[in-house]
Symmetry: C2
């Protein structure tokens, strides 16, 4: 069942984070939600890390008349995969985002103005560094698991490699250890779409640059789908309300991209989109290392990986490369390739396919970590 | 060897074409080039059909100091695959383009002004209908072959299915009988990029809308490449002149897209780009038919198909579907799947891989058509 009505909490840290770029960011605010109860020895906490445009609002509703539940509601709640009768589930908004944690829309206390493009370029490692402040604040020494898909999976990888003694396991879905130039190219044209919008004003807009941001999001949607899922969803159908010989007539798939693109403008900030796209592209689990082997050498706890056959943004071979290296290093690793037509989005849609494996994995981790 | 110095010729038809849309277009100008000599019984003519942004300038150079030869120079000339000692090779600019044939940049004689968006939406079938005027003008009753890749292949398919008695064979490379919604989606966001550019002015610009058109072309380039070719060409390298933590810093692949995008603005018209993108998306070899079987029923001459393993724009399965139907109909068809990392661009780059097969195919066709 659902976790019911929840609220987003905020915590403020009067600290200065040293970022990968060498720049300093601080103070830091973090928006987060929690579900379930932390047990006495604080050993039942699972951190769920969100993707690019996600938020801390993982599950439940903010009010009775809230139209939609949190972004991964299906797997969080009493009796659900992340059973809140058993686990204390945490989700925090990443820095750089626009949903309550410090990002380009935040006021820079040193200037009294929005950061906008004075915000430093951040990496996934920086996001995890900020997440640690929250985990410390909650009094948790060791997370039972960090779980996430896409950019959320990258965060799980950073926890595994940079803070191996603070997690008992990681569950990584639809992720890349280092996105390919194809993925970078798609983000590059999305960025370009925003840069081209005169109302973006080098980030100094008052109102979101809607045409550029909508197009950028439309491009993103292509990468979340697959040839097969589009074929099933839209085929080659032309919009029923347009003529095929209308210059501005649209195919169904075209209308879908446009519709979802313009909806996005109401909910996400263009500068945040740009900073997070950059963090995705820069992501390299072997950042600062000579090799993947060196990067994964510090891993101490089991990793469970899921890849999805039709995911062309972060194709299975990229997960398999990491799994191979972890196996070569003798690390505890599990890998499941899920047959799915949903493309990259599969990690949000195929929970019934991966839930039994995650459940079994968590039970093993709990036993070995002495939680039961 | 090269065909040497060539020139583009122009022919003007005081005719009115009835288009698939039901609209009338005319008069029609066609730009074309020819190489080699038409033989006495006019049986040695090969029409090469160009792709999206190509031109009639297939081979040779326009002057001694011309920097680049025609777009498929490697396969046309004395002793080359399309041996001009043997064949009379024709290439004509498609209508809708901006390289001399009637298109949105042409002056509408009825108004004395550029067509711009008053130009009718055209289809590949319309392009071939216009090409026929040229073939008639050249006094050729039957082409020995029509050959083309991508949109050029679509034209070859139209010749095969709509004018079966006017060709002795067709050679079709990297083509789709009906592009998938994935291909349509990529063109859709390219169109959107131009629509977003305020200097496009609903097609009434004086100067090409450069930012929108460059981005549209950048998006196109992604579809021409492949995950593998980008990995080989760019890897994840960051531009040497940018810092990784510069907000506007670019990956190599990003710089490539930008560089090629802005170069394109000097050579191609934005409205033409839009009309031809639409023609690509609308293309359906079974247009007006109930099935692929019905569409291919009229075929009378052999078809040779090439698909390329890493082509994700028009993936091999789309060619294979056509081949299967032709086989089921008992039509003479040959299919070659070429292993290549170059993606859709492979058809322009892998001529050494397909040339021997094309050569053998043409020899067979010549024998059976009584040319020898």
């Amino acid at each position: 069942m659902s976790v019911g009505i929840v609220e987003t909490k905020f915590v403020h840290f009067d600290t200065e984070l040293r970022l990968e770029s060498g720049r300093i960011l601080g103070p830091i605010s973090i928006a987060y939600e929690t579900y379930g109860e932390l047990n006495a020895d604080k050993s039942n906490a699972i951190l769920v890390a969100h993707a690019w445009t996600g938020s801390a609002h993982l599950a439940g509703r903010h009010s009775e008349d809230d139209k939609k539940p949190g972004w991964w509601d299906e797997i969080v709640g009493p009796g659900r995969l992340l059973d809140t009768n058993r686990y204390f589930v945490i989700c925090s908004n990443i820095i750089g985002s626009c949903y309550g944690s410090t990002g380009p829309t935040s006021i820079n206390p040193k200037t009294g103005r929005r950061y906008n493009l004075t915000f430093p370029v951040i990496t996934v490692r920086d996001m995890v560094r900020a997440q640690q402040l929250l985990i410390d604040f909650l009094g948790i020494r060791k997370l039972l698991a960090v779980m996430g898909g896409s950019m959320g999976g990258m965060q799980a990888l950073e926890w595994s490699t940079c803070y191996p003694d603070r997690i008992a396991s990681a569950i990584v879905l639809a992720t890349s250890g280092r996105p390919s130039p194809m993925a970078i190219a798609m983000n590059a044209v999305a960025r370009w779409a925003i840069f081209n919008d005169p109302s973006w004003k080098k980030g100094e807009y008052r109102k979101n640059p809607k045409d550029g941001l909508a197009l950028a999001r439309g491009i993103g949607h292509i990468t979340f789908l697959s040839d097969l899922s589009m074929l099933e969803k839209f085929g080659r159908r032309f919009s029923a309300r347009d003529g095929q010989f209308d210059f501005f007539g649209q195919f169904e798939v075209e209308r879908y991209l446009s519709y979802n693109g313009y909806n996005f403008v109401d909910r996400f900030d263009a500068n945040s989109f740009l900073y997070l796209a950059k963090a995705l592209d820069l992501y390299d689990v072997s950042w600062g290392c000579e090799s993947l082997h060196e990067a994964f050498a510090p891993v101490r706890s089991p990793l469970q990986f899921f890849a999805f056959t039709s995911d062309w943004l972060y194709p299975p071979y990229q997960t398999e490369e990491m799994v191979r290296v972890l196996e070569e290093l003798g690390k505890p690793v599990e890998y499941h390739l899920i047959e799915s037509n949903y493309g990259h989005d599969a990690f949000l849609l195929e929970h019934e396919a991966f839930a039994p494996n995650v459940k079994g994995f968590l039970e093993k981790v709990e036993k070995s970590s002495g939680f039961e």
